[in-house]
């Protein structure tokens, strides 16, 4: 199944809310989504090497979305700071990656606010 990764490490995936959830594919245009009433948006990433999800996450935040934002797919621990910096709250990864890259490897990258050129330039 999947594992939810946040700044505090791994957790089982909580049951999705009944309403207010939207799923976006990596090819979807976030501007076409009606954000009203949404509390969870899950952006699906087909492969770690496909970086479109980062722009989608960033744009959702630029469009004013303030609810929970997850990136879903086979991302690697090294991408965790990138996901957080563009506005994702958490990453849902498949069990295979969670087994190969255990929690400690993700926690190593949990200090995503450090060494961030963007935060420095955009103040």
């Amino acid at each position: 199944m999947s594992v939810l990764v946040t700044d505090t490490g791994f957790a089982p995936l909580p049951p999705a809310p009944q309403t207010g959830v939207a799923d976006l594919a990596h090819t979807d245009d976030p501007a076409a989504l009606n954000l009203a009433g949404l509390t969870l948006i899950r952006v699906h990433v087909p492969a770690f090497s496909d970086g479109r999800g980062f722009t989608i996450g960033r744009r959702l935040r630029m469009l004013g979305y303030t609810g929970t934002l997850h990136a879903v797919g086979p991302m690697i621990a090294d991408q965790y700071p990138m996901a957080r910096r563009v506005g994702f709250d958490a990453v849902e990864i498949p069990d295979e990656i969670a087994a190969r890259q255990p929690q400690s490897q993700w926690l190593t990258r949990a200090s995503w606010q450090a060494h961030d050129y963007q935060a420095r330039l955009k103040a």
Binding site: F48, S49, D50, G51, R52, F54, T55, R58, R59, M62, I76, D78, Q79, P81, M82, A83, R85, V86, R100, Q101, Q105, T108, A114, H115, D116, Y117, Q118, R120, L121, K122, A123
Partner: protein, 555 residues
């Protein structure tokens, strides 16, 4: 020049630690080879034909004597005593061992250098006019903007996994020495009617298998809008760029498939969203960076020694004629040190030569050194009275070749001698052309002529914009070299035209010789350059020179 802030310093150290950890995680199986590859590439580590290659960034081509000495130390300690200056203002070490790479990166960090984003599908090392801050024709030094772009692009969270690599070049002068029209984004400083400075933004240039000259998407961008605008271009590209075919993934293809009007509309719309997110801190930082690039305090002294030497010494005069360029201070000159001694590998410098260059820069050059995309080293600020001494020291170090801009000042990619992608040799072709014309004693008579050689269709040797371009291909297991003529990488950028059937390895040098002799025969005067003559007469006479003799011989 710019020196690292505490933030930069902490960043590069943290990055070395991260990459060291990534190497360990590759070895223990946490990262698959596919997962590790982009991580190693974005840290400059490339897998070549025989070994790993580490590509170190020389941001906007600027390097200090202390940094140059450290590069020499790295070459001696972890490589074979030399480094290779590339066409994108990097230096490559061809023989590092994987376990040594963290130590090399630490040694680089010790002198405020890194190998970050010199490879991979991310924003690459930002290149600039190698005469920046010294050229007589410059509007403004472009390097503060290049440094701002370096910081902005470094580890940008949105753009580490782009469809393909992304190259930015910037120039502050009307004469384009940075090949801006052959970059994913080219930035040319211009003035508007009110006299304010801004950038003409060119998008979608590139060489490779589909060579294209970039298109202007914004005729005048106020300088303070640089980051949000560049970010808008990248954001649009990250969404639209093709990921189904790596040969169609560069922004030049996106632009042609989407159309200039539509892509410009999308960029402007994204720019309008992004601009308010920049709260002015980038401009405050830019002001600090600008201060760091303040020009040196130029010396005022007589230049009679230069004039006397120039009259008296023909060897010095020949070097001065080809290797010096006008400085904005007329007591000074810009010295281009040729890393193209006849018969040597273009762009290769030994550690001893690097130390000589560092010493000369420190003693005579206001401690400033540049690497040009033409694979030479520049001393941008030398007082004319010091030129005879500098020249003598260069000659002693094997660096005194008087051939800048001439036929033996060749750009060549590493080719099949090093590169896993290459389909033919480049370096030996360059060496043999240089030796042949040296033997004929013709190159000064021929005058300005840029030969550029690529060992495969990816065009790292920029053959498309060579006045004479040479592309080495593999035809059924045999090297075959295609020739193009009339290419130009300047502000009047144009892609060269193919002459016709290619030439076998041992026929390339004679073919180049026939082209050059044809030019000498048809030029109207010694002042008419090869490129001017080509523009006047077209490809016909050169084709005749290349192929008709063969046809006669065969008949």
């Amino acid at each position: 020049m710019y020196s690292y802030s505490d933030f930069d310093e902490a960043f590069v150290r943290a990055r070395v630690a991260q990459f060291t950890d990534q190497i360990e995680r590759r070895l223990d199986g946490s990262l698959t080879e596919d997962e590790f590859r982009p991580l190693r590439l974005m840290n400059g580590l490339y897998l070549q034909l025989h070994a790993y290659m580490l590509r170190v960034a020389i941001p906007y081509g600027t390097v200090s004597p202390r940094q140059m000495r450290q590069l020499a130390m790295i070459a001696d300690t972890w490589d074979k005593g030399y480094g290779h200056f590339t066409t994108r203002q990097n230096i490559q070490f061809n023989w590092p061992k994987l376990p040594d790479v963290p130590a090399v990166l630490t040694a680089l960090a010790d002198v405020e250098m890194h190998a970050i984003q010199t490879s991979g599908n991310c924003v690459r090392n930002v290149t600039a006019d190698h005469f920046a801050g010294a050229a007589a024709d410059e509007i403004e030094d472009p390097r503060p903007y290049a440094e701002l772009l370096r910081q902005w692009s470094t580890d940008h969270p949105e753009f580490q996994f782009l469809p393909r690599k992304f190259k930015i070049a910037i120039t502050g002068a009307p004469k384009d020495r940075a090949v801006t029209k052959a970059h994913d984004i080219g930035l040319r400083m211009v003035r508007n009617a009110a006299g304010e400075t801004g950038f003409e933004v060119i998008v979608g240039g590139g060489l490779g298998r589909t060579p294209m000259i970039g298109m202007v998407v914004r005729a005048f961008l106020p300088v303070e809008d640089l980051l949000p605008y560049v970010e808008a271009v990248l954001s649009v590209y990250n969404v639209l760029g093709r990921r189904d075919n790596k040969y169609k993934a560069r922004i030049k293809i996106t632009l042609h498939e989407t159309g200039q009007t539509e892509i410009t509309r999308q960029i402007e719309a994204r720019f309008a969203e992004l601009k308010p997110l920049f709260g002015g801190q980038d401009q405050r930082l830019l002001a600090d960076i600008r201060a760091a690039f303040a020009p040196p305090v130029f010396r005022t002294a007589p230049t009679d020694a230069f004039d006397a030497f120039y009259r008296a010494d023909p060897v010095f005069r020949s070097w001065a004629d080809t290797n010096l360029s006008p400085h904005r201070n007329d007591q000074y000159a810009i010295v281009t040190v040729s890393i193209k001694a006849h018969g040597q590998t273009p762009g290769d410098a030994t550690s001893d030569q690097m130390r000589v260059l560092a010493d000369l820069a420190e003693t005579y050059g206001h401690s400033d050194l540049r690497i040009s995309h033409e694979q030479n080293v520049i001393l941008p600020h030398v007082h004319k009275s010091d030129l005879p001494t500098v020249h003598a020291a260069l000659v002693k170090a094997g660096l005194g070749t008087a051939n800048v801009g001439l036929i033996s000042d060749i750009i060549a990619c590493p080719g099949m001698d090093y590169c896993a992608l290459a389909t033919a040799r480049s370096i030996p072709v360059a060496q043999e052309i240089a030796l042949r014309f040296n033997e004929l004693q013709l190159e000064h008579d021929v005058g300005p002529l840029k030969i550029k050689i690529s060992g495969c269709i990816n065009a790292c040797g920029h053959h498309h914009v060579g006045h004479i371009g040479i592309l080495g291909l593999d035809r059924a297991g045999v090297e075959n070299y295609q020739i193009t003529l009339g290419g130009d990488g300047s502000e009047d950028a144009v892609i060269g035209e193919k002459t016709g059937p290619g030439f076998a390895y041992d026929q390339v040098v004679p073919a180049v010789e026939r082209i050059v002799l044809a030019y000498l025969g048809l030029r109207q005067s010694a002042e008419e350059t090869f490129l001017q003559a080509y523009a006047r007469v077209g490809i016909g006479p050169f084709k005749a020179a290349l192929y008709e003799a063969d046809a006669r011989d065969a008949a």
